[in-house]
């Protein structure tokens, strides 16, 4: 049976959807053990255990993971790979996940594959390349396989109350992790109450066409329980925070539903969203390239279409 490690960057009281996806994939491949990127109390570990984790590895000095950028997390992961005799490590396809995997691959003299959407029993990895224009299968040819998994690629594990005893944390020494930048302050993202953009099942995104007012986009997003996204034109204009940017230099999303409002659909934007299951586009310009990839295209003014749709959803939901 393969030994699979899952790197959980920020353990929470209940595991996030992305974390449950990693655990589901790990459990489908073999025995899933978790590497804790920060402190995890009994409740957090019980949640991860309920979602499939059979063992836990953590740092003797977790404060080191919070105080220095990336390098201590790499030391922890490498120590856990050695302690567990892991065949593969699954990490989130986030900035942090990629960077930790990148450096661990150097220390372990192995390979790393990013942007995975599937991994089979032989650890062959499926991913999209060139902004979604090709599907590639690739594998790691030496050392433990380091794989970063895109959100919304696999069915998440149900978080069950396992009832069984939650395994203890096996703590590992980080040793000398080398020069690193100190993290002197962290200003947490302001909680919007909406789903995390990269993990959301539904996304409603606005572009130049919102003309400074994200109100209708946010209103439809809230009616649907969706995350709010934006094109680069909208974030560059300062209408919405840069963290909402979907596209080549922003967040890549693959939700069930992507509603694109007032976005022309330039190639950089399409690169970030065209793997969505359903795409609905609203644009005043009938020649907008977004209509070429939309399952439903509406030529019209988002300022009237979106509020009407939001009201209708609320009406039907009673």
């Amino acid at each position: 049976m393969l030994k699979i490690l899952v790197y959980i960057h920020a353990p929470a009281q209940t595991p996030t959807k992305g974390q449950r996806e990693l655990l589901a994939l790990a459990a489908s491949l073999g025995e899933a053990a978790v590497v804790l990127g920060d402190n995890a109390d009994d409740a957090a570990r019980a949640g991860l255990h309920g979602a499939g984790a059979t063992a836990f590895y953590g740092a003797v000095t977790p404060e080191q993971l919070r105080g220095e950028l990336i390098a201590p997390a790499v030391s922890l992961l490498v120590a856990a790979v050695r302690a567990a005799g892991a065949d593969a490590v699954l990490l989130p396809n986030t900035m942090e996940g990629r960077e930790i995997a990148a450096r661990a691959a150097v220390r372990l003299d192995s390979g790393v594959i990013t942007d995975a959407v599937a991994v089979d029993q032989e650890l062959n990895v499926t991913k999209s390349v060139l902004a979604g224009s090709y599907t590639v299968r690739a594998r790691i040819t030496r050392g433990p396989a380091l794989i970063t998994l895109k959100a919304n690629s696999v069915q998440p594990a149900e978080a069950q109350d396992s009832g069984a005893q939650v395994p203890p944390v096996q703590t590992l020494e980080l040793g000398e992790s080398g020069p690193a930048a100190r993290i002197t302050a962290t200003a947490p993202h302001i909680a919007s109450g909406r789903p995390e953009l990269s993990e959301a099942r539904f996304v409603v995104a606005g572009g130049r066409g919102v003309d400074g007012d994200f109100g209708p986009v946010e209103d439809l997003a809230d009616a649907l329980g969706a995350a709010v996204g934006a094109s680069r034109a909208a974030t560059d204009a300062g209408w919405i925070d840069h963290s909402a940017q979907v596209g080549q230099t922003g967040v890549t999303v693959s939700p069930q539903l992507y509603i694109s409002a007032g976005i022309s659909g330039a190639i950089q934007q399409k690169a970030g969203m065209q793997s969505a299951k359903y795409i609905v586009a609203i644009n005043k310009d009938p020649d907008a390239p977004i209509f070429e990839i939309a399952d439903l295209g509406i030529i019209g003014d988002l300022a009237s279409v979106l509020p009407q749709a939001a009201a209708e959803i609320r009406r039907r939901q009673g």
Binding site: E99, A101, G111, T114, S128, T135, Q248, P286
Partner: protein, 272 residues
């Protein structure tokens, strides 16, 4: 540009020549390699060049003894990425070129680049873009920090250097906006939020013609061919298939009821 105190800086900026993202890009059937015709300087590298030039200028620029070297690796055409860097204001260029490099993955690439950076030696700052716009894995900057034993300050949206040679930077991480601090030497990657890259002006284009681009081979770097390229890579592509292009579905024109049609569509697709 006001002259500031502090020692002159020796900065290395990494650049890559990639297929233009404005056009359709292809994998070649033999070996699943990227068709590299119609390539340009990776747009995201322009932010790295700008950051390098701004750091050098904060210490008085070339006249103040600061030096910005642009380094690339790749086939013959890759030197064009270095040329554009020189036109923007870099002082010298280096091009690692060798047939054995073909098929190198991120790990093999970072091995070659790190060896070249050590060979050239003496850099206070190694600067890169946040990702290349071809493979988009964003692995090489972190791997360079690992191989060079440098503090990693990556995906930065703001960078400042004080007179005591301490870098202070902002990074939008998973946990929020992080403030980072590290003394030189460092490895930095910047995002497209970090600055507005300059355009090469006429003087810059003329000046670039007199600047030198040094070519390095694997032998000159003391790298065994078996440790790079396809043979040296820790990953291998098994197969590649073009995606079925998404096709357009129904297109309607709003005559006052399109919001309801949208909701019907969501209901039919069982999304609500």
């Amino acid at each position: 540009m006001s002259q500031k105190t502090g020692t002159p800086l020796n900065i290395l900026v990494l650049v890559k020549h990639v297929p233009d993202v404005q056009f359709e890009r292809h994998l070649l059937p033999n070996g699943h390699r990227l068709d590299r015709q119609d390539s340009v300087l990776s747009e995201l590298d322009e932010y790295a060049i700008e950051a390098a030039l701004a750091l050098a200028e904060s210490r008085g620029g070339e006249k103040g003894g600061n030096h910005v070297t642009a380094l690339t690796m790749g086939p013959a055409g890759a030197a064009n990425a270095v040329k554009k860097s020189l036109q923007m204001g870099a002082s010298a260029g280096v091009h690692i070129s060798d047939a054995a490099l073909e098929g190198s993955d991120a790990g093999a690439t970072s091995l070659v680049l790190a060896t070249a950076i050590k060979h050239l030696g003496g850099f206070d700052v190694v600067l890169t873009g946040m990702a290349s716009t071809d493979a988009e894995t964003s692995l090489v900057p972190a791997q360079l920090a690992e191989r060079l034993g440098l503090a990693q300050l990556t995906n930065l949206s703001a960078v400042e250097l004080d007179d005591a040679n301490i870098i202070t930077a902002t990074r939008m991480g998973e946990d929020g906006a992080q403030t980072l601090s590290a003394p030189l030497p460092v490895l930095i990657s910047v995002t497209d939020q970090a600055n507005e890259p300059r355009y090469p002006n006429f003087r810059g284009i003329l000046a670039a013609k007199k600047k030198k681009i040094t070519t390095l081979s694997l032998a000159e770097l003391g790298i065994e061919a078996s440790t790079v390229g396809t043979a040296g890579s820790g990953t291998r592509v098994l197969d590649a298939a073009p995606h079925e292009p998404r096709s357009a579905g129904e297109i309607i024109t709003d005559s006052g009821q399109a919001g309801l049609a949208l909701v019907d569509f969501l209901a039919d697709a069982k999304l609500i």
